[in-house]
């Protein structure tokens, strides 16, 4: 494949699937303000996904645009990490996922902003500002719930425990990556450790590290998500409104 195609596709798929999952909260969030927050974060992720997938389509050179990549691929062709396709769970699980995703995307987009590929540098410089706000938002909730009541602490810890095995996959580099995600692990661990310490939460010590998303081997959850996301575009090819 061409240049950073695999890398760009993986990042675009991360953002797209994260957007679709977060949007599931719309009208169902625990409070009105959070409903708006999750929808806004989903919108930011979708914005980044559109830029990344458009560029991935150009790099591939096979005539696929952002819509073709989003709507006309099957699960095995998606390259997103497993973290973003996991079900939302309760609000604590969603915040644990958002903490991990934004603590990863922020240093990644920041590093991209200084890379030699102009398109990726522009996307990185734009998206990192939004990621910083997402990270702030997730960190506030993780602290509030972790250092809250006995019940909120229990559920926030359960959320972290459930999500943590899936973060290891984030730091493997797809071929042609202009930034090696492995170099971001230190940043990520420092950020997360500081939030968890303030939240009175602990990291699980399980060595389990599921992966496969970057190779197109996904959990069954992705197939159900794609069925809902793609049904309209597939049932009515070329539909516009």
């Amino acid at each position: 494949m061409n240049g950073p195609f695999a890398f760009t596709l993986a990042l675009g798929d991360d953002a797209l699937i994260a957007a679709q999952r977060l949007a599931e909260w719309t009208t169902r969030a625990p409070e009105m303000e959070e409903d708006i927050a999750l929808a806004n974060i989903a919108l930011d992720q979708l914005g980044a996904a559109r830029l990344l997938l458009s560029y991935a389509g150009e790099l591939e050179g096979a005539g696929r645009d952002e819509d073709a990549l989003a709507y006309l691929r099957d699960d095995r062709e998606f390259r997103n990490c497993l973290l973003v396709e996991l079900p939302n769970g309760d609000f604590a699980v969603t915040m644990a996922k958002l903490l991990a995703l934004s603590a990863y995307q922020l240093p990644l987009y920041t590093a991209l902003a200084g890379c030699a590929d102009e398109r990726l540098a522009a996307i990185g410089a734009k998206a990192r500002k939004e990621s910083a706000y997402h990270l702030d938002h997730a960190a506030l909730w993780v602290k509030r719930l972790g250092d809250g009541t006995e019940e909120s602490h229990r559920r926030m810890q359960a959320g972290i425990d459930q999500v943590w095995p899936y973060v290891h996959e984030l730091f493997a580099a797809p071929p042609g990556a202009p930034v090696d995600p492995a170099t971001l692990r230190g940043d990520f661990d420092t950020t997360v450790a500081a939030v968890l310490a303030e939240a009175t939460l602990t990291l699980p010590d399980s060595g389990w590290a599921p992966g496969g998303g970057r190779d197109g081997v996904h959990t069954e959850h992705l197939s159900y998500l794609l069925a809902e996301m793609q049904v309209l575009a597939r049932a009515h090819p070329g539909a516009r409104w």
């Binding site: 927050a37 930011d44 992720q45």
Partner: protein, 158 residues
């Protein structure tokens, strides 16, 4: 006939209709080819997922056609990334007059500052509180004044 630049600069933001796209700093350039009359407009989004971009592109075309410039190309760029520091002084004054607190200057060395006092656009009091970190559009948060009790939108520093 209005110049192409004047016509485009007068296009208002579809979500915050008191401010023009020029005031907002998302209009990057307007270039007219004197030989062909073709006008190339370059804009940049506030947020990557800003849903107003399609309407803004259409409004720019409509304004140029109405001003006698039918050959229009609208380009979208993402670098350099938009900053609220690009909102003009006139734009800030229009926001405040419409009850929307303008953003504070952005700190260049760090992440988004969240703890700066935001003045109430209605009574001017600095005694305000954030109600919601996200608001009615991607670029705003919802605040409330403790002095006059009015809720208000605040453009987040970015």
């Amino acid at each position: 006939m209005r110049t192409a630049r004047e016509a485009v600069a007068a296009v208002v933001d579809p979500e915050i209709r008191v401010i023009t796209i020029d005031d907002l700093g998302i209009l990057r350039s307007v270039e007219e080819d004197p030989a062909t009359g073709r006008v190339v407009v370059t804009i940049t989004p506030t947020y990557t997922g800003c849903p107003a971009m399609d309407v803004i592109r259409a409004d720019i075309r409509r304004a140029l056609v109405a001003a006698g410039h039918p050959d229009v190309e609208v380009r979208t760029v993402h670098s350099p990334a938009w900053s609220t520091d690009w909102i003009t002084d006139a734009g800030r004054a229009k926001l405040a007059a419409a009850g929307i607190a303008p953003p504070a200057p952005v700190r260049r060395d760090g992440v988004v500052p969240l703890t700066l006092a935001v003045r109430c656009p209605r009574c001017g009091s600095p005694d305000t509180e954030q109600l919601s970190r996200f608001g009615s559009t991607a670029c705003k948060a919802l605040w409330r004044c403790r002095a006059c009790s009015e809720p208000f939108d605040h453009v987040k520093a970015l």
